[in-house]
């Protein structure tokens, strides 16, 4: 029988963080900033290990997050070359938070870290799309066999709580189709082209200067990022077993100012829409009515669930950003603590 986390402060929830880039650092900062708020929920969180590609910060009594954020590898807990694979067994750990960079080709190194954690009976929270796009079904069934949680709210739409809503509020209902804008970069580019009549190339350059788009923007602009998220939505919301190859993908690099102009004459905006139903998965430029809930601007994401009983439910939020993503991760950690009995039932956790 696995232990439950005490709500009385007698025991802490021990975390291992894997990946210490923008999201990992934002999570460490939030855990540090929100320490009193979390204690108010009866949740005392200890981070016993933080791992990067070249080593890790390790302290079985709990790391001083503020110091590590400040001193980085100069901190006394830094162990060059330390690997999470061996430390998951050795360090006190209840939840492994996996935040390594996305690799949609084979999901590594995330897949190995998640698999190892689940095999050791640890709950897992991830913000990494790669492992889920490559082998979501097998990871979820491993989690089930081991009696562990594998939560992944941060992988789609950052802080938009889409999987939590489905899991907590729509279990009685049936999701018929899902549509949305799942990539903030392409939405920014299309919004700029529409609002300020700039060309695709200029809007892309601007997105890169603002830090919204990567130096190699292919992943966003050609729709691969949105397609990965659509795969996770299909498997996570509709219990499918889909892969990236199941999605018809068309990017936005061929959108012309004339296309946007002709669309606007008939009351439409050009948006990069991801669509999913029982038969079809598609990411493509679409003409969306200006008054549609999908007509969000800037870097916003939007997801509409069309359900049998509840009708259409639409969620809008910032689809990216380290703090928003870290917020979704922390929400998943709290969900696990709550399910394991670490937070009193009915406690206000918002």
């Amino acid at each position: 029988m696995r232990k439950t986390y005490s709500s009385l402060g007698a025991e802490s929830l021990n975390l291992i963080l894997i990946g210490f880039g923008n999201v990992g650092r934002a999570l460490a900062r939030i855990l540090w900033e929100k320490i009193d708020r979390l204690r108010g929920l009866g949740l005392s969180i200890n981070v016993t290990g933080i791992f990067k590609s070249n080593g890790g910060f390790v302290d079985s009594n709990g790391l001083m997050l503020g110091e590590i954020l400040e001193k980085s590898e100069q901190h006394k807990s830094w162990v060059p070359g330390a690997s999470p694979l061996s430390h998951i067994e050795e360090l006190p750990c209840d939840v492994v938070v996996e935040m390594t960079p996305t690799n949609v080709r084979n999901g590594e190194p995330g897949v190995s870290f998640i698999r190892k954690a689940l095999e050791e009976g640890k709950d897992v929270v991830t913000s990494n799309k790669g492992p889920l796009v490559v082998s979501m079904k097998s990871l979820l069934s491993l989690a089930e066999r081991k009696g562990c949680f594998l939560l992944y709210e941060a992988t789609v739409g950052a802080a938009i709580p889409i999987f939590t809503v489905a899991r907590e509020f729509l279990r009685h209902d049936r999701i018929i189709c899902v549509e949305g804008i799942l990539n903030g970069t392409t939405n920014y580019i299309l919004s700029r082209m529409s609002e300020d009549k700039v060309s695709f190339d200029d809007a892309l350059r601007e997105a890169q200067e603002m830090g919204y788009a990567e130096a190699d923007p292919t992943y966003d602009v050609e729709g691969i990022d949105a397609a990965c998220k659509l795969v996770i939505l299909a498997n996570g919301l509709m219990n499918m077993d889909k892969h990236l190859s199941d999605v018809e993908i068309e990017g936005i690099s061929r959108v012309t100012p004339e296309m946007i102009e002709l669309a606007e004459e008939d009351g439409y905006l050009v948006k990069h829409v991801a669509y999913l139903d029982g038969e079809k998965m598609e990411v493509a430029p679409r003409l969306v009515p200006k008054n549609s809930p999908l007509a969000v601007g800037g870097t916003f994401n939007v997801i509409t669930l069309n359900t049998e009983l509840s009708g259409p439910l639409t969620f809008i939020g910032k689809g990216a950003g380290p703090r928003e993503t870290a917020s979704a991760i922390l929400a998943d950690i709290i969900t696990i603590a709550k399910k394991r009995g670490g937070i009193k039932s009915g406690e206000h956790v918002a």
């Binding site: 061929r254 959108v255 296309m259 002709l262 669309a263 004459e265 008939d266 003409l287």
Partner: protein
């Protein structure tokens, strides 16, 4: 389906109600009533009532009930509910035989209501908007599938409503 039923009613109080009652009774959903006063012949006033029925059986049941109440049905016409889709194509739309593209749309029973083109030069890509209309959304969806295929063959980039 939506239909328009014409009656010739005596121009006196209570006549219209008499015609509407069987429609309501059998579940026809009334959308519009027009008095065609300019077509009045003697005391007989033509009136057109537009309403929705489930199918032809439903319609005939209503017609029989109207006639059984002593009202003469002068005519029934089906009204098309038009569905519309806007498709915009970018690429060498003209150089890749736009007539063939349009023919493949037309052969599916879809009307090209409007076509707007933005052309810069013969070498440049052009952007062409098709406003398509059909009597059912299924017809439009199947036309869209054809258009996507055509676009793939001709390397045209498309966005649709």
């Amino acid at each position: 389906m939506r239909v328009k039923m014409r009656f010739n009613l005596a121009d006196e109080p209570g006549q219209l109600l008499k015609a509407l009652q069987p429609i309501a009774e059998f579940g026809g959903n009334v959308r519009e009533i027009s008095h065609l006063r300019e077509e009045k012949r003697g005391n007989m006033l033509p009136v057109a009532v537009t309403f929705d029925v489930k199918d032809l059986d439903h319609l005939f049941k209503i017609r029989d009930a109207v006639e059984a109440s002593g009202i003469q049905v002068a005519g029934i016409e089906p009204l098309m509910e038009l569905h519309r889709k806007v498709v915009i194509m970018v690429g060498h739309v003209f150089a890749t035989n736009i007539k063939d593209t349009i023919d493949r749309v037309l052969e599916r029973g879809v009307k090209v209501r409007r076509l707007v083109a933005r052309i810069k030069s013969a070498e440049d890509v052009s952007t062409v908007k098709f406003v398509l209309e059909a009597d059912s959304s299924e017809t439009l969806e199947s036309t869209l599938r054809v258009l996507k295929k055509v676009a793939g063959e001709k390397n045209l980039f498309i966005a649709w409503s």
